[in-house]
Amino acid sequence: MRLTCPLCGERDRREFYYYGAEDYLRRPAEGAPLAEWDNYLHLRDNPAGVTKDLWYHEAGCSQWLLVTRNTVTHEISGVELVAGRKA
């Protein structure tokens, strides 16, 4: 598996650290109900197919990346900077 970092270009999978589903981008507000925190920390859609998840370019530009990929075929269809995405 290779990921094309928007800043560094196509790189080996070993340069990246996988964090988890994009749910981690939707952090509940301080004081949010416990159910929201449970949802954020533990519950996952876990799709068999296209998913979006967070990777960290540890051995490269140190940017967090939002990767669109297929969990069944391992096909990568998009990599964007978390910092650059539209809210």
């Binding site: 070993r14 996988y18 988890g20 533990h42 519950l43 799709p47 969990t71 075929t73 391992h74």
Partner: protein, 416 residues
């Protein structure tokens, strides 16, 4: 048909013409008392114990492929009861006791071999942790023996004891640990369940779960609708998809775990050896192949095949620990779809839907749990109450903070 040594000899003398199929191939009925979704190890053992322990025989096991086509046929076959945390400890201890009587109970040779499992340690701190774990195992009534460096050498003379990075300080020997023939476990439970009247329905994929007024009333399948007021979801890596049919979002992320087997060799490795610092474990099958594996590929995947970096890592770890295996040729590798939970421990629980039960989150430790998982899931379905040794495997423990984080690695799915 009852299997015995005499039967094998008699059949051998008369051309093996008297063997009959180990289980029926029934068409699904319109209604059952209980439906188990998933014909893997856990699903089949659940059906078996429903019939045997609770007398509930009007049961269907629905399997989308063939029986045992998932993780029960794609693992490294290790059986152990070396857990530490209350909640896990009593459960795996119970499972070990069931393993020890399994062949007689099922009248099926699952080739359970208690050859001993050795977990290696490489520092003083790690030794302390293993002393503590060993004491927990002994307190649970199981067995553990702390080996020093020379003690390990007596068992495993072929290791590289003076490795610069991970010199071997000793190991924790779990004599009752070992391995079993993975497929045979599924087949033995399938045959036992079938003999007691359970319908094992293959090539029957569940496509929907029917719920009315908060109660489960049946399932939709590729072979038609089937009614039941009790449905158990026992589908390992596919738990999220099946639970989604009931509108549920689970604390599960599916990850890939690879394993490998070499060509058949003469006996060289008598134990199950676990090299935690290298994420490597190995045993030798009765056929002679070295069966070994490592850690997850670390990203969510349903591909049932992994990537090369983890292949390289596992081979490096193996060579670091026991350079003698370097000449062995790897015959094949495979990947299983692991239902990873946020704390590394499983779920055997009711759901908020009346009559819908869930058995999932086995991470990469499901094989040894097959007997106790089925035992406890059957207890839950039959009585509506959790079994005593599985009472901490609650679905809501993540929300309430009662995590069972055996490794202490934190609440992230791929870290266990």
């Amino acid at each position: 048909m009852r299997y015995s040594g005499l039967k094998v000899i008699t059949e051998g003398l008369f051309g093996n013409k008297g063997w009959t199929p180990a289980w029926r191939d029934p068409a699904p009925k319109a209604e059952y008392d209980v439906i188990i979704i998933g014909g893997g190890g856990h699903g089949l053992s659940t059906a078996y114990y429903l019939a045997k322990n609770h007398g509930i025989t009007n049961v269907a096991v629905l399997e989308k492929g063939y029986l045992g086509s998932g993780n029960i046929g794609r693992n490294t076959t290790i059986v152990r009861a070396n857990y530490f945390l209350p909640g896990n400890s009593e459960f795996y201890s119970h499972s070990m006791k069931l393993w020890e009587g399994l062949e007689a109970d099922l009248n099926y040779n699952v080739m359970h071999s208690q050859r001993g499992l050795i977990n290696l340690f490489h520092s003083d701190g790690q030794r302390d942790a293993f002393v503590r774990r060993g004491n927990a195992m002994i307190n649970q009534g199981d067995d553990a023996i702390l080996l020093d460096r020379e003690g390990v050498r007596e068992h495993l003379p072929y290791l590289d004891f003076d490795n610069t990075r991970f010199p071997i300080y000793g190991g924790l020997l779990h004599p009752r640990g070992g391995s079993a023939r993975h497929d045979a476990v599924a087949w033995g439970y399938a045959r036992g369940a079938d003999q007691r009247g359970v319908d094992l329905i293959q090539n029957c994929e569940v496509t929907g779960i029917d719920i009315q007024g908060g109660k489960v009333v049946g399932v939709q399948t590729t072979r038609g609708a089937i009614r039941a007021t009790k449905v158990g979801i026992v589908v390992a890596g596919r738990s999220s998809q099946v639970a989604a049919m009931a509108g549920m979002r689970l604390p599960i992320e599916s990850h890939i775990l690879q394993a490998f087997v070499t060509e058949g060799l003469k006996p060289v490795i008598n134990h199950v050896v676990s090299f935690g610092m290298g994420h490597f474990y190995i045993s030798q099958s009765d056929k002679g192949g070295l069966v070994f594996g490592g850690d997850l590929d670390f990203y969510a995947s349903y591909a049932a095949r992994g990537n090369l970096p983890m292949v390289e890592h596992v081979m490096e770890a193996g060579m670091t620990l026991m350079p003698m295996i370097g000449r062995a040729k790897v015959l094949r590798s495979w990947g299983g779809i692991m239902d990873m939970s946020p704390d590394g421990s499983p779920v055997i629980d009711k759901t908020h839907i009346d009559g819908l039960f869930l058995d999932c989150g086995w991470n990469y430790g499901g094989f040894k749990a097959v007997p106790a998982s089925g035992w406890c899931m059957a207890h839950l379905i039959a009585t509506g109450e959790p079994h005593e040794v599985a009472r901490k495997f609650r679905l809501d423990r993540f929300a309430t903070g009662h995590l069972l984080d055996e490794e202490g690695t934190g609440s992230q799915h791929n870290l266990h």
